[in-house]
């Protein structure tokens, strides 16, 4: 018998395998949209060749907030309290601006209990990817409506939602967010491109991803079911992401594609559909979201992007070394400083 040589494992640009980006096995329900998103996070970070040890993954409380345990085992994780992940992420960023932050939240965690902190995170433009795994219900507490449930949406028990939803994308744009996208867990191609683009963005990147709850909100009458989302999804554009370390090779017909250069030198290609959507137009984005809500459309893609906005780190006017890496000797002023202060108080 001839021993077959094992197939060489493929690696990314920093020599790591896909397995190096995986996490512990998921404990969510089979078929949960969140697991599909987790897979795309693993894929995006692997393909980008991001050093996993340099990532901090954060979350709040809920089904979605469990998922950071399911990807990037080589990254430190912080599963915080309900709705408070934004403040923790802000603190981590203040301490160590060189860490790449990815936060995973849900619609309950972000749109209800954590709405205030979400708003202030976006307002500060803390550099991080902020994913909302949006299924319109509270899963862990067995299926109550969340604040993103659509008007007229029906619970399994037949209860009708009579309150209007909070549109997190519209809100983020209103608050000045420089990267706002909506996607669908069942559209991996679009999702992975958006995740990569978000990783190349300088400030807060908000991704509102419709992620069906197979147990509590996947029935007829739900507007967050796989069936509904699949039927209704209307992409605003086709997305292509070219990382900074790859050459741009694909040609395109002039006028059919918008090319956006991202903060780290990567490029996002937005191939136009018949809508001719301009993702750099804030007013258009607001109008489009409002209209889509009115007409019960499910629009996905990059809703708004502004690559010029200063992020929170820029605004703090701090030294280049991350605060946490400043040696102790530079943190404690010398005795002469204390003497000077004391003299002034005598």
């Amino acid at each position: 018998m001839v021993a077959s040589t094992p197939k060489p494992q493929s690696t990314n640009r920093i020599g790591l395998t896909l397995a190096d980006y995986k996490g512990s096995p998921s404990t969510l329900c089979d078929g949960c949209g969140h697991d599909a998103i987790t897979s795309q996070i693993i894929k995006a970070f692997y393909e980008l060749g991001i050093e996993p040890h340099n990532v901090a993954k954060l979350s709040g409380i809920g089904c979605s907030s469990k998922t950071p345990a399911y990807f990037l085992n080589r990254a430190h994780g912080f599963n915080s309290t309900h709705g408070r992940m934004p403040s923790v992420a802000t603190g981590v960023s203040l301490a160590n601006k060189d860490l790449r932050l990815i936060g995973v939240s849900g619609d309950g965690d972000t749109a209800s209990i954590g709405l205030g902190q979400f708003c202030h995170l976006v307002r500060r433009n803390v550099p991080m990817i902020y994913i909302v795994e949006n299924n319109g219900v509270y899963g862990l507490t067995k299926g109550q409506f969340s604040a993103t449930a659509d008007l007229g949406s029906k619970l399994k028990t037949g209860v009708l939602n009579e309150l209007p939803p909070i549109d997190l994308c519209g809100l983020a744009i209103e608050l000045g967010c420089g990267f706002v996208a909506r996607s669908f867990a069942g559209d991996p191609k679009q999702l992975v491109a958006l995740l990569k683009a978000a990783a190349s963005h300088k400030g807060t990147a908000v991704l509102d991803v419709i992620s069906p709850c197979v147990t509590f909100n996947n029935h007829e009458g739900s507007t967050k079911s796989y069936k509904y989302a699949k039927e209704m999804e209307t992409p605003l554009h086709e997305l292509g992401y070219i990382p900074f370390f790859e050459q741009i090779t694909v040609d395109y017909e002039p006028g059919t594609v918008t090319d956006i250069e991202l903060h780290d030198g990567s490029h996002l290609r937005l191939k136009k559909t018949e809508r001719n959507y301009d993702a750099t137009n804030r007013a258009l984005a607001v109008e489009t979201i409002a209209k889509a809500a009115e007409e019960k459309q499910f629009l996905t893609g990059l809703l708004y992007i502004d690559e010029k906005k200063d992020n929170f780190t820029d605004l703090m006017h701090v030294v280049d070394t991350p605060i946490v890496n400043i040696p102790d000797s530079q943190l404690r002023p010398g005795k002469e400083v204390l003497d000077e202060v004391m003299k002034g108080l005598m």
Binding site: H53, G77, S80, L94, Q117, C119, I323, L338, M346
Partner: protein
């Protein structure tokens, strides 16, 4: 001689009471009297006489009454003194009541037009034509109200015989950057002084005389002292939400850090201080920063402590270093935001749902505000848990005389951190494993470049490797280790200060800003032949010293500034067998504790 009965300690020699009295200035909030009162206090301090000042102010921007009391005391007693010897009644709203509250023989300086003379004939009145004098001091009508404040300083200075040079020095110091303002104020104080010299026939016993008891001393408020402690602890991140009486702690910190913690070459900060959207976010940011390896703190007061409860428990359970300053005010609810209290002791010690006990430091002076602020960061990182520093409005916002602060003697203790090099050398890492037997595990910091460095921090049940667990034995093991950590901490927290008096049958236990009043009360008791021992508690958890102290006295009075006897409750719950030896004295009207209250409370029970 009713005056003497009211205050037996005050010595009258040949009609003079020297360097032993209190002045109260009653004004309207927002009228600009604070500068004048500081000048008055400062000038007496500059004459070498021990002095303390307390600002009793309303929760209001302008219009409500405010009182500033200055205690001048040659023996160095700096607690609040209940009896007012000299009243400057500038506020028409409260003048009547202010005068009525005076003891017989007290002095009252007031605007002529208030006609207070008739209200109390047993008080020495000095009516002053302030309106007229203000017009003399400045032609600018808008400034007349302001200069009136400095005119009363001049009148008081003349009456008490405060050095004019010290008044001028204090004014120059107060208006450092504004030459014209200093000149105007000096002129105003002169106007008052000259008028008093010509028109007042002094008929009261109060005088100041130069001493040498303040040379080398500083005057500072507790919040600024805490801020200095943070800076010399090498603080890296602070997140806060404005709240009285703690706002000035972080605001002082910002001022100091901007001056002394900016990189000289680039002009950029070596720290991050963020005003958060609320206390929930403030503690969240501080915890996030602590988790990432920074020395981080937040400062707040009672309502903020309530809001921080959830994250405090999170920090305790997941073992994240963070420092929380609580400058206590009167609660519950909004309570009396500008009045002092020690009623957050229990909520801070046990803050959170579930079984929780925190390390709580209890500074009793401005020097300890500085020292404990510094120590708290070492303790937080050593024990990987939230550390509370509880001062109060009296300590935090009032000016206190102190010896200059000492430069830290030890390098920063960054605690047990597992580095990439240690991992590379083959060290085993399990985030929540007690490898040294002291209950304290090792932690890695995010960004550590090693495949084994990462762990998952979760508020849910976790085993030694930080994995999710609901196993009963895992949970019990974790909770017991957290308790063990607290046990280890007992050796590292500030130990009680004990003054054991062999002759004493009774002991006194107190903490925080009660200290000056206790010291003075013990002297009063001694004068009445009641010998006492004193244990000043400086931190929680309790140590065996407390138990031994109570055991070695027939009775121990626990004196505290809250309604329920919170320290008493903690002590009794820890040492139930000592309950019968403990008596509780509680002061909770929002005013700083005074010695006479303590003395009377003890004496009434000792009869």
């Amino acid at each position: 001689m009713k005056t003497l009965e009211a205050n037996a300690a005050q010595k009258v020699e040949s009609g003079r009471i020297v360097n032993d009295f209190s002045i109260e200035v009653a004004t309207v909030n927002g009228s600009g009297s604070q500068s004048s009162n500081t000048v008055l206090m400062r000038s007496i301090f500059q004459m070498g006489i021990p002095v303390s000042g307390k600002n009793l102010f309303p929760s209001n921007i302008a219009g409500l009454p405010t009182w500033f009391t200055i205690r001048v005391n040659k023996d160095g007693y700096i607690a609040r003194k209940k009896e007012i010897d000299i009243l400057v009644a500038m506020n028409p709203q409260t003048a009547m009541e202010d005068v009525k509250n005076l003891k017989p023989g007290a002095v009252c300086i007031s605007p002529q037009e208030l006609n207070l003379t008739a209200v109390r004939s047993d008080v020495k009145h000095y009516p002053v034509p302030f309106t007229e004098l203000a017009a003399k001091a400045t032609e600018n009508i808008k400034l007349r109200k302001l200069v009136t404040n400095m005119i009363y300083v001049g009148v008081v200075a003349e009456l008490l015989d405060i050095d004019q040079a010290e008044i001028e020095n204090a004014i120059r110091r107060q208006f450092k950057k504004k030459q014209s303002a200093a000149d105007l104020n000096i002129k105003a104080s002169d106007t008052g002084r000259e008028w008093a010299k010509e028109n007042i026939k002094k008929d009261d016993p109060y005088y100041v005389e130069k001493m040498n008891k303040t040379a080398g001393k500083i005057i500072i408020d507790g919040n600024a002292a805490s801020a200095l402690g943070c800076m010399f602890a090498g603080i890296q991140v602070a997140a806060w939400y404005p709240i009285t009486p703690s706002s000035s702690l972080t605001e002082s910190l910002i001022d100091y850090m901007k001056k002394y913690r900016v990189d000289k070459e680039s002009g950029k900060a070596t720290f991050n201080i963020v005003q958060a959207e609320d206390e929930l976010a403030a503690i969240g940011m501080a915890l996030g920063a602590g988790w990432a390896g920074a020395r981080a703190m937040t400062s707040t007061s009672g309502p903020g402590i309530s809001l921080m409860a959830e994250f405090a428990g999170y920090g305790y359970f997941t073992e994240i270093p963070v420092v929380i300053f609580d400058v206590q005010r009167v609660g519950p609810s909004t309570g009396m935001p500008t009045r002092t209290s020690q009623a957050d002791l229990i909520s801070a010690y046990y803050l959170s749902h579930g079984d929780t006990k925190h390390i709580v430091l209890l500074p009793g002076s401005v020097a300890e505000c500085y020292q404990f602020a510094h120590d708290s960061f070492d303790l937080a990182e050593r024990f990987q848990q939230p550390v509370f520093v509880l001062s109060d409005l009296d300590l935090g916002m009032n000016n206190w005389m102190s010896d200059p602060f000492e430069y830290p003697k030890t390098p920063m203790d960054r605690g047990k951190i597992m580095t990439a090099e240690m991992l590379e050398a083959g060290k085993e890492f399990a985030r929540y494993k007690d490898v040294d037997g002291d209950g304290i595990p090792y932690r890695t910091l995010p960004g550590t470049n090693h495949p084994n460095a990462a762990y998952f921090t979760r508020g849910s049940g976790h085993n030694e490797k930080a994995g999710y667990t609901e196993r009963p034995d895992d949970y019990v093991k974790l909770m017991d280790r957290l308790l063990k950590k607290l046990e280890t901490a007992k050796k590292h927290i500030p130990q009680p200060i004990i003054d054991k008096n062999a002759k004493a049958k009774i002991g006194i236990i107190a903490f925080g800003s009660s200290d000056p009043a206790i010291g003075e009360s013990r002297d009063q008791l001694k004068a009445a032949n009641v010998e006492t021992s004193y244990l000043r508690l400086r931190a929680l958890p309790l140590t065996d010293d407390v138990k031994a102290f109570i055991e070695s006295h027939e009775r121990t009075y626990i004196v505290e500034q809250n309604r329920d006897g919170q320290l008493k409750d903690i002590i009794v719950s820890e040492y139930p067998e000592l309950a019968t030896k403990i008596r509780s004295i509680r002061h909770y009207d929002g005013l700083p504790l005074d010695a006479r209250f303590v003395t009377d409370s003890i004496q009434s029970q000792e009869k």
